[in-house]
């Protein structure tokens, strides 16, 4: 019993913080989903679980989810692959390599707003570098909004993969050279398996970032044209009149993220090698 008390004492700070800022609001959110509110929450009425059914099967949720999933598919693989390739390229003892390492990781250090505005300028129809009209094309708008994320994911992936590569023992790579593994085989058969925990972490985190992305979409397309780039988060932000609907969409997003993350662990973790097992 004494140990349980001690454990709770040590856990208390995080339990309190999580309760106040996460668990309690989450429970409150579940409750809100049963009310329809109007005029920005000034009046509301109880509608029960019917609102969950109505919204989660409605176009707001399904369209938003489709766009969110697309956004994730645009941003995660591209950012990850580019980051890994750059990290592998920059992981060598060359003079001045630190400069490249700093440049490649710089995208991580710039804020979402800054990188989005940067791309907004690049897309500017008058002075931009990419005068392709993607922002105005319903099929390309979401991709245009995804570009800053790809750019930033690349930096994050670069930094984390580079750290992972530096932890790979030099002698193992030399053994692989002597065993006859060429550069490509070394990458695929030795390096990537050895940094697989890092890759799993990146996939999970980048997918969550993708589902949560907001600022880049608002800055580049503002959801347009005609809602073609409205992701789930964007839809939630639009529910300023009916908080209840916003609550249901949020819980939907939470559930999707939870399931996707869980699936990633189940499907990918078997292929991940941790050093000490």
């Amino acid at each position: 019993m004494k140990e349980v008390g001690l454990a709770l004492t040590f856990l208390a700070p995080s339990l309190i913080i999580f309760s106040v800022f996460f668990y309690l609001p989450f429970i409150r959110l579940l409750d809100w989903g049963r009310y329809k509110s109007q005029r920005g929450g000034l009046s509301y009425r109880y509608v029960g679980l019917s609102q969950y059914r109505e919204i989660l099967t409605g176009p707001e949720f399904t369209d938003g989810l489709r766009h969110s999933v697309l956004f994730v598919l645009y941003t995660v693989p591209a950012g990850l692959v580019l980051g890994v390739l750059l990290a592998v390229a920059a992981h060598r003892p060359l003079k001045g390599i630190k400069i490249f390492q700093a440049i490649f990781s710089s995208t991580l250090a710039s804020s979402v707003a800054v990188s989005s505005v940067l791309f907004l300028f690049l897309f500017n129809p008058a002075v931009g570098f990419f005068q392709v009209g993607w922002k105005e094309d319903p099929d390309m708008a979401l991709f245009a909004a995804a570009l800053p994320s790809i750019w930033q994911n690349l930096g994050l992936a670069f930094v984390i993969v580079l750290a992972g590569l530096q932890a790979v023992p030099e002698e193992v790579m030399e053994a692989a050279r002597l065993d006859g593994y060429g550069p490509f085989r070394r990458l695929v058969r030795i390096t990537l398996p050895l940094i697989s925990p890092v890759l799993l972490f990146l996939v999970v985190v980048l997918v969550i970032f993708g589902f949560q992305a907001f600022a880049q979409i608002q800055i580049i397309t503002n959801g347009g044209p005609a809602g073609a780039s409205e992701t789930l988060v964007f839809k939630i932000s639009r529910q300023s009149q009916n908080y209840g609907a916003g609550a249901v969409l949020s819980i939907g997003l939470f559930a999707v993220t939870l399931v996707v993350t869980f699936l990633q662990f189940v499907l990918l973790e078997r292929r991940v090698h941790y050093g000490d097992e």
Partner: protein, 372 residues
């Protein structure tokens, strides 16, 4: 199988010369140990054979073939690393099989083109290597669950399975505990005798060098100091570095000057030099009176006797069980004497010492090279 030859091989990193003009012929089938302290260039020399370091100058041959610009995988050598460098994500079986999967081998004899092994041939070789190294029960495990000694044997099996022309080993025993190290030394020698392949073995541990080597190459500061059988480097070190690097405790080296009749005068007495002994023919011209020399005597070659010629005071006594070391102050220099079993000497005793002239090594005080 093949020998390895260094012809004036130099390795420079910027302004630092790691290996300087190394000439060394490693004979086919011998167990050559490269021995020296940290930073002496022995590992660099080994890594040049492997192809993991480029060669700044000179020629390196494996067999008759100059391999300066040959890719590591094409050199037909294999290497055991200090950390074993196993692939942690692969089973023991896949680790051992690994070189066979990607490399081609002269399977059908030297006159046929190299080819990759078939699946059956690979399995056969892995089984054989696992049997020789007692790894059969562990083939389907991952390296992380194995003990240090087992991992080391996996690394050996991986080196062994491709039947290379030469094995390179970079301090492979240094991560094992003392008992396992002693056993593995014996196993390595047996393995070498069985396969007969050239071994180039790097260590800073003179015990490993003395116990396993056919020949030892002693290196210091990037330069080869002496090559010879363990016995030769122990009995006739070419300079004071080799004299003091090999042997525990190291050889006593006393500053002195040549006296009359081939004796060496040191502060606190004199020693009969090797010239005074019947089988030590040394040109007297070399040993002019007054020439500054260093007299070397191994701790076991000094005896305490009443008619000794060197007089000193016991500073410390170390009892090690099977033997005992006496530290004796002679003038301003200190000597170590090895005494079997126990001793009745104690700190403060004044003793007189003598050595058989044949056991006294003379080195030039300036060049540190052996005179006699």
């Amino acid at each position: 199988m093949a020998g390895v030859t260094f012809k004036g091989v130099t390795k420079r990193y910027g302004d630092v010369t790691a290996v300087e003009s190394l000439d060394l012929e490693i004979v086919d089938g011998e167990f050559m140990v490269l021995l020296g302290p940290s930073g002496c260039g022995k590992s660099t020399a080994l890594r040049m054979i492997a192809g993991l370091e480029t060669i700044s100058d000179g020629e390196l041959l494996i067999g008759d073939r100059v391999v300066n610009d040959v890719d590591p995988a094409e050199r037909d050598i294999s290497m055991v690393f200090q950390s074993y460098a196993l692939y942690p994500h692969m089973t023991v079986r896949r680790n051992i099989e690994s070189p066979l999967v990607v490399r081609s081998y002269p399977v059908d004899g030297p006159d046929h083109p190299y080819r990759k092994l078939t699946k059956e041939e690979r399995a056969e070789r892995v089984t054989e290597a696992a049997r020789v190294l007692d790894l059969e029960p562990y083939l389907d495990r991952k390296p992380a669950v194995l003990s240090g000694g087992q991992r080391q044997r996996v690394a050996l099996a991986r080196a062994f399975v491709g039947r290379p022309k030469a094995f390179l080993m970079d301090e492979p025993l240094s991560n094992l505990d003392a008992k396992l190290r002693a056993n593995t030394r014996i196993e390595l020698v047996e393995l070498h005798e069985r396969v007969g392949t050239t071994v180039v073995y790097v260590t800073h541990d003179q015990v490993e060098a003395m116990t396993m080597a056919t020949r030892v190459a002693v290196m210091s500061m990037g330069k080869l100091q002496q090559v010879g059988t363990p016995r030769e480097v122990y009995d006739r070190p070419v300079n004071t570095f080799v004299a003091q690097f090999i042997g525990t405790p190291p050889m006593n080296c006393l500053d002195g000057v040549m006296g009359a009749g081939g004796t060496v005068d040191i502060v606190g007495g004199w020693l009969a030099g090797p010239t005074a002994s019947p089988d030590g023919p040394v040109s007297m011209a070399k040993l002019d009176r007054g020439r500054k020399v260093v007299a070397g005597v191994r701790p076991e070659d000094l005896v305490i006797t009443t008619d000794g010629t060197v007089r000193g005071e016991v500073r410390a006594v170390e009892w090690l069980g099977h033997e005992c070391l006496l530290f004796v102050k002679v003038g301003d220099q200190q000597l170590v004497i090895r005494q079997p079993g126990t001793t009745d000497r104690s700190v403060g005793d004044v003793v007189t010492l003598a050595a058989d002239p044949a056991d006294v090594h003379l080195f030039d005080a300036d060049t540190t090279e052996r005179i006699a």
